[in-house]
Symmetry: C2
Subunit: 359 residues, 2 copies
Amino acid sequence: MAKSTKSSALKQNDGVSQSEITNSASIDNIKSKRKAKLSPEALISQIKNGNITALSRAITLVESSNTKHLEQANAIIKGCLPFANKSIRIGITGVPGVGKSTFIEAFGMHLTSLGKKVAVLAVDPSSSLSKGSILGDKTRMEDLVKHDNAFIRPSPSGTSLGGVARKTRETIILCEAAGFDTILIETVGVGQSETAVHSMVDFFLLLKLAGAGDELQGIKRGIIEMADAIAINKADGENQKNAKLAKVEFNRALHLYPQKSSEWQPKVMLCSALKREGISELWELIQSFEAHTKANNHFENHRKAQSKFWLLQTIEDRLKSNFFDQPKIKKELETQLQLIEDDKTTPFVAAEYLLSLQS
Amino acid sequence: MAKSTKSSALKQNDGVSQSEITNSASIDNIKSKRKAKLSPEALISQIKNGNITALSRAITLVESSNTKHLEQANAIIKGCLPFANKSIRIGITGVPGVGKSTFIEAFGMHLTSLGKKVAVLAVDPSSSLSKGSILGDKTRMEDLVKHDNAFIRPSPSGTSLGGVARKTRETIILCEAAGFDTILIETVGVGQSETAVHSMVDFFLLLKLAGAGDELQGIKRGIIEMADAIAINKADGENQKNAKLAKVEFNRALHLYPQKSSEWQPKVMLCSALKREGISELWELIQSFEAHTKANNHFENHRKAQSKFWLLQTIEDRLKSNFFDQPKIKKELETQLQLIEDDKTTPFVAAEYLLSLQS
């Protein structure tokens, strides 16, 4: 497995890797693959027992675009719901090159060493073709990938952030029901994906490099405002001095924002994922965040507010797709856009007309 | 009129001020108020002749929530459309205290002195109760208010930015058909109102004060990124030195952004609206922007892209209100939100259920 490729590493976590097929212990697994599909009830029961194969299958149903699969997925999620929610959900973002994979490997291994069960998910709406373009470099996570108490799943495919986010949120519930108590959700920050991840996690961690000069970018895009902690990675060797300076700067930037509803003052930490330094301190910080927000009820209130937000967001997305996906509307929308192009209608008259066509 | 109150100043522009009633010249005006309402065709014809009373009435129809009025409004807009579009639309924003009213008075008077016809509109979704809370202090615009070639209309009322923005966009068309060639649209920047105004104008002007220390705020909220020019107001007397320093800083900030699709490099100017300094230079800058963007076709392409954006935005807003305003949905939404509160459903299952109720 040392030279495991991306795809076999991923497959292993789906419970059907090549190595397992040559392994007598997974004969049952192969049999269950071959026999008729399991009922939602059977999958729920297996998920509750921590069966990773069942978890992977349920996630595949959640990710499917087949209506029948979605019905099954909804039944499974409903069945898992009473066993979900008992976790801490941590969002992790940072620009490419910041060392996210190495960080998640180090952080995940630290958590498993404490007896935690760690699920690593990703939100990357751009990865529809290159499935798993983030969480992609599994060679940097090779210990975590093989660990019994870790489950790694690449981003669901899809070009719409709404769809990708929905699937990830439902996958969180399934992972929690399967006993994962620490959910890491990685995003590379394409478009609004950081906002989507922020709206599904308890704690939002921003990974930074010292002297990368993208501070303005982070402020501009509202990422720094969302952060509960900033970890300056690669704070080792000659980088240490710059990292300490960056820490002072980011601390100053964080203090310019008004207090969050969590009443938590975001912190800046130094770490080196490669040298596994600062990792346990970061986990201690997240634990103090959890204690703080559970004491003031923010933790629970925030989760409920997130769920209400997602209810409204899901309805809005569906109303739009129900309307715009009608062949008649698609055709007439083209016509109306051309009329706008030719200055022959206004946006509002065109909108009224299109709305009047609705079946 | 020197001590004209807010409301009489506004009414004058609606063509029915108290002072006019005591003025024999406006007897016709009063008669037309009393007689049966004009047909859309008659209003279109009068608007095209630059009749301000007809313009005000048409705007009142646009702003109405009465379905019959909206039908009339749509007919009028459609009739005005071939005569619209021949203007420059300028968005103006800045925090309270920056001197927006004084600036608009100075800028508007300069434009009228050049023979321009100036319409001043506002977008302020918060002003539903205190109609005209911006553009409110008419004592600071008393020359412009009285000028024959100026038309001032406060923000349409409404708590939804979508509704307020739609009304303002349609009002722009009516003003243009009435011969106004320079449209100023003021916003105080509540919520997303700057983004809404930015999406309906050709040129976006940000008013700033030297040393106000809200630079970060402007970067954070994406306002500086939207600006085609930043004018540092009150750059007079002892403020001049600070204003010059601020100019250097803002110039540096502006250069950190990638080039705009207009290929226009935003500029920083100094002005003093009170002393009427820097006003003509700013107008020259806007003229060079217009020449630049007309030469590279950005001006026209940008207007069409804006219209297409508003077509989609209007449909989305209507799909949402059509759904959420149904009494059955309102009631069941409450129930589902409570189930989320009690951890008895997921956002997605609740959304599916609510969508299934749709008539």
